[in-house]
């Protein structure tokens, strides 16, 4: 029943845009322009500041995987500029989900990504995924108050639950270039 209602809504609303070829083009163009204008009105201005804005930042927590289980290093947490780069999902879709809860166990948000311990290569006919290759990675969380517990779900199963320690919101500037394989080319 739900499926039929879905199709009906799509047809009814879409049909209003498709009454004739000429009107279709005109209305479609207007709808595209509406979407473009909507995005333009929301996109704001580029901000070059290196300072951490507490209302727009995210945390990184170090994690490792030994092939069997995940270990979280909660002694290291890093606050970084910019909002969490992942879209929140009502239902997670990708194999590695991160769910975060408040002290009462209420779900504050969740997102999913490709498994961070895997390598992937897109080439038809060849091996495409090497699982468990990456042993060290980061878990990103929005820098918001109230996150108490974090749950990792890998392949549909709970893989780890950890408690986020109290964090200090401070400006963190990483001006080091301490990896021998990296070169500053600026």
């Amino acid at each position: 029943m739900k499926k039929y209602i879905s199709i009906l809504i799509i047809f009814l609303v879409s049909g209003s845009f498709l009454t004739s070829c000429g009107q279709e083009k005109d209305k479609s163009k207007k709808e595209v322009e509406t979407a473009v204008n909507k995005i333009d009105s929301l996109k704001g201005k580029f901000n070059p500041s290196a300072a951490i804005n507490p209302s727009s930042s995210h945390w990184a927590v170090h994690a490792s995987f030994d092939g069997q289980q995940y270990t979280i290093d909660t002694s290291f947490t890093d606050i970084r500029a910019g909002k969490l780069p992942y879209i929140q999902e009502e239902k997670t879709s990708l194999p590695f989900a991160v769910k975060y809860y408040d002290a009462n166990g209420e779900l504050l948000g969740q997102y999913s990504i490709e498994n961070p311990t895997s390598l992937r290569s897109c080439e038809p006919g060849k091996e495409a995924v090497k699982p468990g290759v990456i042993s060290s990675f980061e878990i990103l969380l929005p820098a918001i108050e109230g996150i108490q517990n974090v749950q990792i779900v890998a392949g549909g199963k709970e893989a780890k639950v950890f408690q986020l320690p109290p964090l200090r919101r401070e400006v963190k500037s990483n001006n080091s270039n301490d990896k021998p394989d990296s070169t500053n080319v600026n």
């Binding site: 009814l12 709808e31 995005i39 070059p48 500041s49 780069p85 495409a128 301490d178």
Partner: protein
């Protein structure tokens, strides 16, 4: 019971259908500058190209600010008109021969008039060297990092002796990949492009080794896309949020950015491909009947549904969609991917 969430989703699909089959805006143009990451002494050429439509007048404006090591701006000049074209013949170019000097953030704006419409291309770039240490260098940015998608181009160490090639390749990727795909170009105001000041090492997938991330990787985690451009003959891979690509490939760039920017799944026919079904606006379906039911919503029919791989996955996009192919050639995204892209752009802008 018909949920509010379902209603919202279907209204969005219905809204996006006419968008996805939309005709081009009239007029439609796009702007670029060259070099994409100029030194303070480099002359900079601004170019406006026309895709479609009648343009009666174009004006070019600019303003310049000093940027310090903290990324703070000062001494911002008033916006100044620097060129006007009446009844223009495209492409339009204007060259600032003297360069802008070091530690500058330059913003230019093409104001385009035609068919009783007026719109703007407003683009900001930094001159090199960029004083904000170990931060991604803005080379073509259009909005706040929190409200648009961000893609960082990172030089592989194989580019160390070829940095001019790297810079020109980044300009080409913006101009000839992202501004050539119809749907991405239409929403060009949704993408910030950066260059990373620190190299990484792209590794061959068959080596079993992951990419060596740049030492400033912690400063790049805001970006949805991070690509290591290289001058090597390797089997490219993705991992840790980074993907690699030869400096000249366009199809691969669209395919991999399809994964990282919009969470589009693979559409090629291989059991080893990465398939999943997004809860909202997927481009893969895990059963045929759902794909067939979704097809009319994308102006397709059940006969457009194609099986992929084993176990069974299904797609509706045509064979040329970038999520089905990669490599050098560039093709346009098909309807389901377009809808997913628009959904992502709107979600990002409104979050």
């Amino acid at each position: 019971m018909y949920s509010y969430q379902s209603l919202k989703r279907n209204l969005f699909v219905a809204f996006c259908l006419p968008l996805a089959i939309a005709c081009k805006q009239n007029p439609e143009t796009f702007a670029i500058h060259s070099p994409i990451s100029p030194s303070g002494a480099d002359a900079v050429t601004f170019t406006l190209r026309r895709i479609d439509g009648n343009v009666s007048e174009v004006k070019l404006f600019e303003f310049v600010a000093n940027v310090n090591s903290a990324g703070d701006l000062s001494a911002t000049t008033p916006e100044t008109e620097i060129q006007t074209w009446n009844s223009p013949s495209f492409p339009l170019t204007f060259t600032r021969a003297s360069g802008y000097g070091s530690n500058k953030l330059v913003t230019y704006r093409f104001q385009v008039k035609g068919n009783d419409k007026t719109y703007n291309h407003t683009v900001t770039f930094a001159t090199r060297p960029y004083p904000v240490a170990n931060q991604a260098i803005p080379v073509y940015v259009v909005g706040n990092q929190d409200n648009v998608l961000n893609l960082v181009f990172i030089p592989d160490t194989s580019m160390n002796s070829r940095m001019n090639l790297f810079y020109s390749s980044v300009g080409s990727q913006i101009d000839s990949t992202f501004h050539q795909e119809d749907w991405v170009r239409r929403f060009r105001g949704s993408y910030n492009f950066f260059i990373n000041p620190v190299t990484a090492i792209a590794r061959d997938f068959d080596s079993g080794l992951s990419h060596v991330l740049p030492s400033n990787s912690s400063n790049l985690s805001f970006a949805q896309g991070k690509v290591i451009l290289h001058f090597q003959d390797i089997r490219d891979q993705a991992g840790s949020g980074y993907f690699s690509a030869e400096y000249y490939v366009r199809g691969t760039m669209l395919h991999e950015s399809g994964h990282s920017l919009y969470r589009l799944a693979d559409e090629y026919d291989a059991s080893s491909a990465s398939h999943w079904e997004e809860a909202e606006f997927p481009n893969n379906w895990d059963n045929k009947s759902d794909a067939e039911a979704a097809a009319p919503g994308y102006n397709k029919t059940a006969s457009d549904v194609q099986k992929m791989g084993t176990p069974d996955w299904y797609r509706i996009c045509n064979n040329l969609c970038p999520m089905r192919s990669s490599g050098v050639p560039l093709n346009n995204y098909d309807q389901p991917c377009k809808t997913r892209i628009l959904h992502t752009l709107l979600q990002t802008a409104s979050n």
